[in-house]
Symmetry: C2
Subunit: 196 residues, 2 copies
């Protein structure tokens, strides 16, 4: 709604958009100190701020991206990170052809510097955009260096201690959702037939 | 589970992983013709196949990627698409420096060819990886060419007719989830204090 320039929203419209009931929504938002105005609703921009603060997005998070191929470069240039409070503090790669490149205003550093860079720049989240074969080894080093939040784009399941949060991004998920709808438009899946 | 090499899974374990109850899960899977074996459970690989078929992922979907910068290149090279039944049928860009490049075995074509390429190759899903400023115009052309499924990586909200499905990918969502947990580890958000 903020992106669409909507200034205020009623709890009913917000509840409908979220798929919950409006009494529950009002109660939940009241925990953030957000009450809305009778007859007007919630101020969208202020609500975004309150939720962002609650989610920790108004803090400054130093992020290191390891693996500076096409995906790493795309992520380094991705405007959506900075606007959400994420600061790319380091880019690291093992390839001497890539080390030294300037990307999004940062100099790509050698992976040998990983531990030093994490410590010196207070990196709290590492994004892995390495090839699958390199991901576990880098992950182990990142964990040893004390990082407990890892975003993994490499197509491999990482082993980490329970104290470490890993989120795996599968870029094909959204394509799969589109394909499901496309199949239904084209005449429906087997289930629609089987379950008659 | 398939990625981890797990061969069979009980309905209880599967239900726990999905956060639903096992009786409901067994009933739902029975609609796919999947019943498991008493004392053994479900065959993971077969279940993946049955669900994939239901979602339309065993079909061949021709996908065109428009915008062949770093993100478009990363997507063109992304192994996860092909393994899910998505075939990259075309890469298109407006930049004469990029048109003609060979990426992932495909020749980048000029955006002027968009409508012809969509028609000739039976493209049913278009991935937009253009700069934000170009996305709506490309989107309009894609819709005019008859495509009703669009995956949008450009940081902009697209206007489309109701008959068109657009999914917007926000690469920062997973980072936001990590930041939320990181904040909690670091002493908890305001909410934990406020709600005492």
């Amino acid at each position: 709604m903020a992106e669409r320039g909507i200034a205020t929203v009623s709890s009913e419209d917000l509840a409908a958009a979220a798929g919950v009931n409006s009494a529950k929504l009002r109660k939940d938002l009241s925990h953030l100190g957000s009450y809305g105005t009778r007859g007007v609703g919630y101020d969208v921009e202020y609500l975004v701020y309150q939720i962002s603060r609650e989610l920790g997005l108004t803090q400054d998070w130093a992020v290191a991206i390891v693996g500076v191929g096409n995906l790493g470069r795309a992520l380094a240039n991705y405007g959506g990170f900075v606007s959400r409070g994420f600061r790319i503090a380091a880019l690291l790669d093992a390839d001497p052809e890539i080390v030294g490149d300037d990307i999004a205003g940062l100099n790509v550093e050698h992976i040998d510097e990983l531990e030093a860079v994490i410590g010196r720049r207070g990196v709290s989240i590492v994004v892995l955009a390495t090839p699958a074969v390199a991901a576990q080894e880098v992950c182990d080093r990142v964990v040893s260096a004390g990082v407990t939040s890892i975003l993994n784009f490499a197509p491999v399941v990482l082993s980490v201690p329970d104290s470490v949060d890993v989120r795996k991004v599968d870029l094909s998920i959204e394509l799969q959702i589109l394909a499901f709808h496309e199949q239904r438009k084209a005449g429906g899946p087997l289930m629609a037939v089987d379950s008659q």
